[in-house]
């Protein structure tokens, strides 16, 4: 892609292979540098060693609450935008303490998308989030 500009780095955390690879396909196609992992702990490890502009997580990863993972990732990568793709049940959102969820929801670096996600919407959200971080 455009060589002069640094390619934005995206970390995709999703335990289902199809979804993970699809995100990679779409985002790489749109010019992002994509790293994928299926494991929340591995994701935390990756963020410790690498810089990511955007972390895309499913709201359920390896049995742990995706939202908690999103909060953890947000703490470790203060400059990254955390985009959580939620399956849309309130149950997912009621994990964790209310204060933590409140903090997560109010943080400007967090975003939510409800499944099923449209490609155009996904790209728009990712573009907006990373553009601000340019």
């Amino acid at each position: 892609m455009k060589t002069g500009i640094r390619r934005h780095r995206v970390l995709v955390v999703d335990e289902t292979k199809n979804q993970r690879e699809l995100y990679r396909l779409i985002l790489e196609d749109a010019g992002y540098e994509v790293t994928t992992t299926q494991d929340g702990d591995h994701a935390l490890l990756l963020t410790r060693e690498n810089h990511f502009d955007l972390i895309l997580t499913d709201d359920k990863t390896n049995g742990t609450c995706g939202l908690m993972l999103a909060i953890e990732l947000g703490k470790q990568s203060p400059s990254a935008f955390i985009l959580t793709i939620i399956t849309g049940s309130d149950k997912t959102l009621t994990h964790g303490s209310p204060a933590e969820i409140e903090a997560a929801l109010n943080g400007a670096r967090f975003g939510f998308l409800e499944k099923p996600v449209d490609r155009m919407v996904l790209l728009k959200v990712v573009e907006n989030a990373t553009w601000r971080l340019k």
Partner: protein
């Protein structure tokens, strides 16, 4: 609460009354019989006295006659047994014996006694020829038996003689006996009367007791039958016993029991039903939730394919695009259904603000207008110029309105008219959405707000259930009026914003 049984109409009371009156009647009867018997006994006593008196009178007369016969025997040579054929023997005397001082029989009405020795009392003192003394009671042995006698001493020139009067033993006693027999007879008669009277009363009381008992126990059979019906599970009847006694009370209690059992059974059925509905709800929610993951993959894949892998060839690309857009349509439908299911079970998180319902309805109508035009449906929107603000969640209210308008369109596949109206009425905001479509059958119209009920061939049947839930979360109400092939009208009413402040 059951009224207490009045004493006089109760079985106990009646039985008590019966027994008391029977007792009183018996006492009265016995008293009356006693008085009557007393009167009779007095009369009888008087009569017997008379009889005894007359008996004694008779015997005294006889006595004098016998003495004169004895004297006659002393002064004549004729033997008494010879004379007695011509002279009548007094009725109370059996025989007359004349004996001297030593007891040697000189004369007698019994021939065999003459010149025999009999027992006589010792000579009495102070007896003179002119002065007679009282007879002496003695006995004489005649025909092997001792017979009571009255010995009268007579002093003649031939010395002291005894005129022994042998009494006709039974004469007086017979008369007294007759009186006693009459008395006994009257006593027997009296006790017969008493027995008869009390037996009659007892039988009468028994008869009444049997009637009361029968009348009392007859409905118990009906109750027993009813209890059997209840035991076999029949609760759709009432015991038709209308009485004021204990059985009536029992019947009333029984009916209350049946009603209570029925209510409990219905409650249990309703609970079972709602439990089942909740279980189905949980299951559908889980399924809906799980559908979103594959749906997400399909959706993104289709998007990616149509964006990146469209064929170069014009006509092929058209076909490709049409195929993928129909897939997108189906995904949208699935998404809608899944949202319905998840929204129905989702607790209310209302984003509370003041919402202009007129604006919401206008927006909703704008959204469905293209579809309406396609189906040749005329859409009208009516509103009075009063504000129609409602406190609530705009997104959820809008989903209500769009549910109703989409339903209306689906009811008119070959054209018609959709009328939407907002107005203020009695301090409420009233929204009506009417169509001229197929209508809803009367048996279905009560069920359309129930979850998982649908008249359509597709969908979960949650649209109107969600709509109703949202309306109720906004303290509003929803009503429906429908006629088959005439159309359907939904009426929503919400409290006006600021009405309570």
């Amino acid at each position: 609460m059951i009224d207490r049984v009045k004493l006089l109409s109760s079985f106990r009371g009646r039985l008590m009354l019966l027994l008391t009156s029977f007792l009183l009647l018996t006492i009265v009867l016995v008293l009356v019989l006693d008085r009557w018997a007393q009167k009779r006994a007095t009369a009888e006593l008087v009569r017997q006295n008379q009889q005894v008196k007359s008996a004694f009178n008779t015997s005294f007369g006889d006595f004098a006659q016998a003495v004169s016969l004895g004297l006659q025997s002393l002064s004549s040579d004729d033997y008494l047994y010879e004379v007695i054929g011509h002279v009548e023997m007094p009725s109370t005397l059996k025989d007359i014996i004349v004996a001297d001082e030593t007891g040697l029989v000189k004369d007698s009405t019994l021939r065999e006694l003459i010149q025999q020795q009999i027992k006589v009392p010792p000579p009495p003192a102070g007896i003179t020829e002119t002065q007679s003394i009282d007879p002496v009671e003695s006995e004489v042995e005649i025909e092997g038996g001792l017979i009571k006698t009255y010995d009268i001493p007579i002093l003649t020139q031939k010395g002291l003689h005894w005129i022994v009067l042998v009494m006709q033993q039974d004469a007086i006693i017979n008369q007294i006996d007759a009186a006693q027999v009459a008395l006994a007879e009257s006593n027997r008669q009296l006790s017969n009367y008493r027995l008869g009277g009390t037996t009659g009363l007892l039988l009468f009381a028994l008869g009444i007791a049997v009637v009361i008992g029968w009348r009392f126990t007859k409905p118990i059979e009906e109750l027993a039958g009813a209890a059997q019906r209840v035991a076999s599970g029949d609760l759709d009847f009432r015991v038709g016993i209308n009485r004021r006694d204990e059985v009536g009370q029992l019947a009333t209690t029984f009916n209350e029991m049946i009603a209570g059992l029925k209510a409990k059974l219905e409650l249990e059925e309703r609970l079972n039903l709602s439990e089942r509905a909740a279980a189905i709800g949980r299951l559908t929610q889980t399924i809906a939730h799980e559908i979103r993951n594959p749906l997400n993959v399909i959706n993104l894949s289709v998007d990616q394919a149509s964006a990146k892998y469209a064929p170069e060839d014009e006509s092929r690309r058209k076909q490709f695009t049409r195929l993928l857009s129909s897939v997108k349509d189906e995904i949208a439908r699935l998404r809608h259904m899944v949202n319905d299911v998840l929204n129905y079970g989702r607790p209310a998180h209302l984003a509370v603000e003041s919402v202009d319902v007129r604006r919401l309805l206008e927006e909703t109508i704008q959204l469905i207008r293209p579809q309406a035009d396609e189906q040749n449906v005329e859409v009208t929107f009516e509103q009075d110029n009063e504000s129609a603000n409602v406190i609530g969640d705009a997104e959820r209210l809008k989903s209500c309105l769009s549910n109703l308008t989409i339903n209306a369109l689906q009811a008119m596949p070959v054209g018609g008219r959709l009328s939407a109206r907002v107005r203020r009425l009695d301090g409420q905001v009233e929204v009506t959405i009417s169509d001229t479509g197929v209508g809803i059958s009367p048996e279905s119209v009560n069920k359309i707000f129930e979850p998982y009920f649908s008249t359509k061939k597709s969908g979960f049947g949650l649209g109107l259930a969600v709509t109703k839930k949202i309306v109720e979360e906004h303290h509003g109400s929803i009503d429906v009026q429908s006629q088959i092939n005439q159309g359907t009208t939904f009426t929503l009413r919400f409290p006006v914003a600021g009405a309570d402040s």
